[in-house]
Symmetry: C2
């Protein structure tokens, strides 16, 4: 089969409106599930009528659950903050990701759904995969192993170190596929060259957990390896993946992705950079409007490979732009509160600078009408407990990089 | 259920003769399978009529496959030396154990059969297991994870390092069971004490890969942890396991264990220390008379816990006693060749000593008749290409420690 073509299942080539209807129907059921099966959502979604959450507009009015808040939620209600519907006794695995944040793994094949991404990267039954993610403490190793098993690939669990052993494994088993971080594969290939080991069996890779720069991808291609990337988190599993079209990251069929203004739950216009917010359809760990803290943007249109799901641009930075000014924290949420008081403001960006040792804050605003800059300055002082000025800029002037707070001071 | 009682399945309490009949019938079928499905056994068992291998006596006449020989066999016919019946494409995982020796993992739940050992150690559905074996390169981590999953336990994959994270995991998830090496659990408990972490949730352990000394077991009991041990290898999986009776290691229901004189394939009398030789009933990797290189001995009678399978004493040392005398290697196989030339010799032990800087070899022999010591000395020189003398000792004089070569020189 031409790996350019979709084919993991029929979901990928559904007409977009069919997918959207299926997702919105699943959303209603998932909101009901989360409300009735988890202590956390029973509180957070109190009064929410699940049948009313049948559109993206309705979804956008539900509260976010921030990844950064999980640590405190889990501390208060161990081990999973009351967010899991399945008791620990019903889980296959327990993990601690950096934070440390507790992550569950439920029962069932390919629980994190990475098989779809592997398939798009050309992985097929009979492939022999070097899995160079860690299996210890965090779920990354198991995520890719369980996905490869779903596709009936044999997996060599290499983990993240012992480069010489990774080379030995490639040659002994003629491993032909790699999963791991983008840079570690090159370290392995360099070690192979150094030791005159023939690792030419290796022809494809699916990477994540770091940037796959275009030059890096090119370099892998020169070494006979086709590298694609995907995007996911320890909490959610797969969020989006590249196809051989290499035209953005295609959203997984079992999540609903929104892009919101950092510090708010408000979706940005299509194409604008904002925070990735994900609602999963997973029944063990139903996350509704989970704010990942990552920046991305929707891409217009569809992938030329034939997959019809929405696409995002991939990881564009971190959404948490909290900074310290004159010893006080300034959060994106505070900037959002100021902007909300002035409906004419279409987009705002707090620029923090320093001159002659003194910090200065200016809120640059795009608006459709003339703004009352003094009133805005008053609002800044009220919400941030710091003095700042406001400045109106022409629409389209502020860069599309998801930044709500720009810190231009030397760090 | 009282964990003292058997109960993982009905096999454990079969009348011994029922088990033996079932194993001998399975053996016939396994020999046929190995001969017809693997290139290696097609050669090694050439001319062997499977239906004739229906008794331990017949099995004892088949050739051994030594663990030490796997490296060369695998080098000649990669990756598995022609010993696997399932092609790499049909395997779930590929591993490299120290050697490095390639190990397969076939499809199916609990492929290495450690669930029986976990059950005997009191592991039950709903337990939360800290698995402190490595998941990388070698199969140990996956062996115990897949066994725990079979019992519906949730597993925290801790691996072999990061002690502080292991403590954090125990407290966060209230982990109550441990799998790993015998000593690492104490390191974790010490770290917990040092950091005032409450790890009292931990109450049971199944350990392997090192000696669980009686003092160590006692110390764990004083800390509220019931520790049992088991014995297995990366090639075979589970070989034997302790039950709460703590009366030897009970042989797994799906292997046939023989104890042979080191350097030979000849079974020793019951109770005598010798090399553990295992025949597995596994269809992916059918090992017939696999010589593990480990020493043990059969225990008479049955475990008081009610399990009726044969028992062994556990790991008693390494069978490979190859040593160097005057710059030449002397192998147990050479000693066996000498002894075979003199049917009156019941037991022999080559003692290598050194006096005034000169190495000396004496073959001590137990025999039922008077031996021709000069003829034996000639045989030693012929088989070892080294001079040595022979000495007849009274029956029962030689220690029961499995040693065919005893090296008394200071190393």
């Amino acid at each position: 089969m031409d790996p350019m073509l979709p084919g993991f299942d029929d979901l990928e080539t559904r007409p977009p409106e069919v997918r959207e209807a299926a997702l919105m129907s699943a959303l209603v059921s998932q909101v009901a599930w989360a409300r009735s099966k988890t202590a956390y959502y029973e509180e957070v979604l109190q009064g929410v009528e699940p049948s009313a959450i049948a559109s993206r507009g309705a979804l956008a009015r539900l509260p976010l659950t921030r990844k950064g808040a999980l640590i405190e939620l889990q501390r208060a209600r161990p081990p999973f903050g009351g967010l899991t519907a399945t008791p620990p006794e019903g889980l296959l695995n327990l993990y601690l990701s950096p934070g440390p944040i507790a992550d569950p793994r439920g029962a069932g094949e390919d629980w994190w759904r990475f098989a779809r991404a592997l398939f798009a990267a050309g992985f097929r039954a009979g492939d022999r995969v070097l899995n160079a993610f860690s299996y210890h403490h965090t779920p990354a190793g198991a995520m890719f192993e369980s996905a490869a098993h779903r596709l009936r690939c044999a997996v060599y669990p290499g983990g993240t170190g012992q480069t010489a052993s990774q080379v030995e494994a490639i040659t002994r088993f003629q491993l032909n596929a790699y999963t791991g971080t983008p840079d570690f594969l090159q370290i392995i290939l360099d070690k192979a060259r150094e030791t005159n080991a023939n690792v030419s069996s290796m022809t494809k890779a699916l990477v994540t957990g770091g940037a796959l720069l275009p030059t890096m991808r090119e370099r892998y291609r020169d070494q006979g390896i086709d590298a694609l990337q995907c995007y996911g988190t320890a909490d959610i599993g797969l969020i989006a993946y590249e196809s051989p079209a290499r035209a953005g990251m295609i959203v997984d069929e079992h999540v609903i992705v929104e892009i919101v203004r950092p510090g708010t739950g408000d979706p940005v216009p299509d194409g604008e950079v904002g925070e990735v917010v994900v609602t999963t359809l997973n029944r063990d760990y139903p996350l509704i409007r989970f704010a990942t803290g990552d920046l991305s943007a929707m891409l217009p249109g569809h992938s030329p490979c034939g997959r019809t799901a929405p696409r995002i641009r991939g990881f564009l930075g971190r959404a948490d732009q909290t900074t310290k000014v004159k010893g006080m924290f300034v959060h994106p949420e505070q900037v959002a509160r100021v902007a909300r008081e002035f409906p004419d403001i279409a987009k705002a960006r707090l620029v923090v600078s320093s001159s002659e040792g003194r910090d200065r804050m200016v809120l640059k605003c795009e608006a459709s009408a003339v703004l009352d800059l003094e009133a805005i300055a008053g609002s800044i002082e009220r919400h941030c407990r710091l003095r700042g000025s406001a400045e109106q800029v022409a629409p389209g002037t502020l860069p599309n990089d998801g930044k709500v707070i720009e810190d231009t001071r030397e760090s």
